[in-house]
């Protein structure tokens, strides 16, 4: 009997499967759609003119990060250090579609890309800088759903042209003054690119007579003739790097002009001119992050600081000339809590120091403005303090001051310094501000800022 019982227990033990309730987690269990390429979009077919009575001015903020790609204004106009008893001089405000697209300014006109939900259309809207009166708008019908905002890019503007990049990678080139349509490219269709998560964040670049765009897909980067829309060069993309939210930054090192681009997959320097234009000068996959929004910060000694959010942290690369190309060395990398790191905004490089706002996963200094020395970006020189946290808001420099908009719409005026946080003044400039993430723009003393739904213009002149 005992033997029989032992045999039964043994059989039960042998046949017992303690993992019988386990289920496997396999790809595809979310029933994800195929995500096919969308409908054909007729770029530039919609146009409305409202007025032509703007006041011409002289200064410009012609693109993302301004004239010199460093977010520092060279304007000689003295600006306010304090708002005074009457508060900020908000000249006008305009309601926009939900988004984070910043403005470009050109001699008295403000250009901003905006998605109109009711008309289901992307529009490049042109406003008077001094009055906010809309002059005209040019756009195209395209279906975009809210996804933490819709439009999120800054147009590139020259004396004659405007180039925009829409939420679903539609590039549109217009005549700057009349708004006449010149040419368009559907990057998703033409290059089989993947629209980045939460839509396009890359701000287009105009370099001379060439529009430079990072496409991902079948090409990494393309150069397009501004006048005709003809492709001048295409950089191959054999590794299948994807378009990121980062924007292309021109950089000259050791006498060589190049475009530095931080893709999803890697970072590369592409020759900007000469017969080698469009050729890869250096590249590395050491920097391979899922979501990259800030642009690379290229420093005169060949160091490149790159950073990204979503747990990525930062990395510092160093370029060394090698024949007609460059060797790239990864000096070090770290997690977001290990030094300067940013989720959306690109840090400022000023007088040998870098300034940026740490992300929410940046440890005890999260959301604080910090200053580091590029010799070691892991060592924080100073931080703004636990009472001064700014979120994902934008910041730039003008008239030797830092203007910083926190994500709730409060504008801070700071004294830039490598020795500590020095606040001069602050004021709420957007009532009930929410997700004020768009880059700021300044020309002729007028600051254009926005939160997710409202764009405002503040007169900062002394």
């Amino acid at each position: 009997m005992l033997t029989g019982l032992s045999v039964i227990i043994l059989m039960w033990w042998v046949n017992y499967d303690p993992t019988r309730d386990f289920t496997q987690s396999l790809p595809g269990m979310d029933n994800r759609g195929s995500g096919g390429v969308g409908d054909t979009v007729d770029i530039g077919t919609l146009f409305d003119r409202y007025a032509d009575d703007y006041t011409p001015l002289t200064e410009t903020w012609p693109r993302f990060r301004g004239e010199h790609f460093d977010n520092i204004s060279r304007s000689g106009i003295p600006l306010l250090a304090k708002f005074g008893s009457s508060g900020p001089d908000v000249r006008w405000s305009v309601e926009l579609g939900e988004g984070h697209s910043g403005a470009a300014i050109y001699e008295g006109l403000v250009y901003v890309l905006d998605y109109h939900e009711e008309e289901r259309a992307d529009f490049l809207r042109c406003f008077s800088l001094t009055t906010g009166k809309e002059q005209w708008r040019r756009g195209y019908n395209v279906h975009v759903k809210r996804n933490h905002g819709m439009s999120r890019t800054v147009p590139a503007v020259t004396d004659s042209f405007i180039v925009t990049m829409g939420p679903r990678c539609h590039v549109m080139c217009l005549d700057r003054l009349t708004g006449d349509f010149r040419w368009g490219i559907d990057i998703e269709k033409e290059y089989r690119s993947e629209v980045p998560l939460w839509y396009t964040g890359q701000c287009p670049l105009i370099d001379g007579n060439v529009a430079v765009l990072a496409t991902g897909g079948t090409a990494l980067m393309i150069g397009v003739d501004l006048l005709t829309g003809r492709k001048i060069w295409e950089t191959p993309n054999p590794r299948g790097w994807k378009m990121s939210h980062s924007s292309i930054i021109p950089f000259t090192f050791d006498g060589r002009r190049m475009y530095v681009y931080s893709a999803s997959g890697g970072i590369a320097g592409i020759a900007a001119d000469g017969p080698e234009a469009g050729k890869v000068l250096w590249e590395t996959e050491a920097w391979n992050k899922q979501v990259v929004a800030p642009s690379p910060v290229c420093m005169p000694d060949g160091k490149i600081f790159i950073t990204a959010g979503y747990g990525s942290g930062s990395m510092v690369l160093h370029l060394t000339p090698s024949g007609d190309k460059f060797d790239v060395e990864m000096l070090y990398e770290y997690k977001p809590s290990g030094g300067l790191a940013c989720e959306q905004q690109t840090p400022l490089f000023w007088e040998g120091h870098l300034f940026g706002i740490l992300p929410k996963d940046g440890g005890p200094l999260r959301n604080q403005l910090v200053c580091v020395n590029p010799s070691d970006t892991r060592k924080i020189v100073w931080a703004s303090g636990s009472e001064k946290r700014f979120g994902l808001g934008p910041y730039f420099m003008a008239d030797n001051k830092i203007y910083l908009l926190n994500e709730e719409g409060t504008l801070f005026i700071l004294q830039p310094s490598s020795s500590g946080y020095k606040e001069l003044d602050q004021a709420k400039v957007i009532a009930d501000g929410h997700d004020a993430w768009a880059p700021l723009a300044l020309a002729d003393g007028y600051l254009v800022a926005r939160d997710s739904k409202t764009m405002i213009c503040i007169n900062l002149r002394k």
Binding site: Q24, N147, G311
Partner: protein
């Protein structure tokens, strides 16, 4: 005289018993009435104070913990890249086990339409570790957050998690308002 004395003693004892009984009944009735009218208090997590330290999973007297993740759907961005569902820099935005942040796969995701995904917590699998909450708070809208579930909680006189909570995020709340769910509950 002797009889009167005896009678008086008996009456005294009877009277004392009656008074004791009346006092006892009154006390019971008083306690019952107090129990009905006085609000019961229970433990709950203030999601705005929680720092997702992970102690809710390990300090609760219950195994698994009475703390579970809850999802405020009206705050969720329904993102494809969800910081509460996917590990940072996961190799794909997929449901593969190696990409999931949750150690017990307690979050399932469902494609709704481009570009939206819905995230649903399986309470039976959730151990209250807060990893998803940390990811959602750091990179998203903070719609995932931890709550003490009162169908599980034994309402200890001194909550073991509250005692070890580094941010003092756990406090007594009225049983009639036992949950501090984001969206309904906002921090001033």
């Amino acid at each position: 005289m002797e009889n009167d004395k005896i009678k008086s003693r008996r009456e005294f004892i009877r009277g004392g018993a009656r008074i004791s009984l009346a006092l006892a009944m009154g006390g019971i009735a008083g306690f019952a009435a107090a129990g009905i009218s006085r609000e019961k208090w229970v433990w709950q997590i203030d999601p705005f104070e929680c720092t997702q330290c992970g102690r809710c999973a390990t300090e609760c007297v219950l195994t698994p913990s009475a703390v579970k993740c809850v999802h405020a759907f009206d705050l969720c961005g329904y993102c494809d890249l969800c910081g509460g569902y996917l590990k940072p820099n996961s190799n794909a935005l997929s449901t593969a086990g190696e990409n999931q942040l949750c150690p017990t796969s307690a979050i399932s995701r469902k494609f709704i339409e481009e570009p939206y995904f819905e995230y649903i917590i399986n309470e039976n699998l959730c151990i209250g570790c807060g990893k998803c909450v940390k990811g959602c708070t750091s990179f998203g809208n903070g719609s995932l957050h931890l709550q003490i579930m009162h169908n599980l909680c034994v309402n200890c006189n001194q909550c073991a998690i509250a005692r070890s909570c580094p941010s003092n995020a756990i406090r007594r709340v009225k049983a009639s308002e036992a949950y501090l769910v984001k969206g309904d509950f906002t921090k001033d």
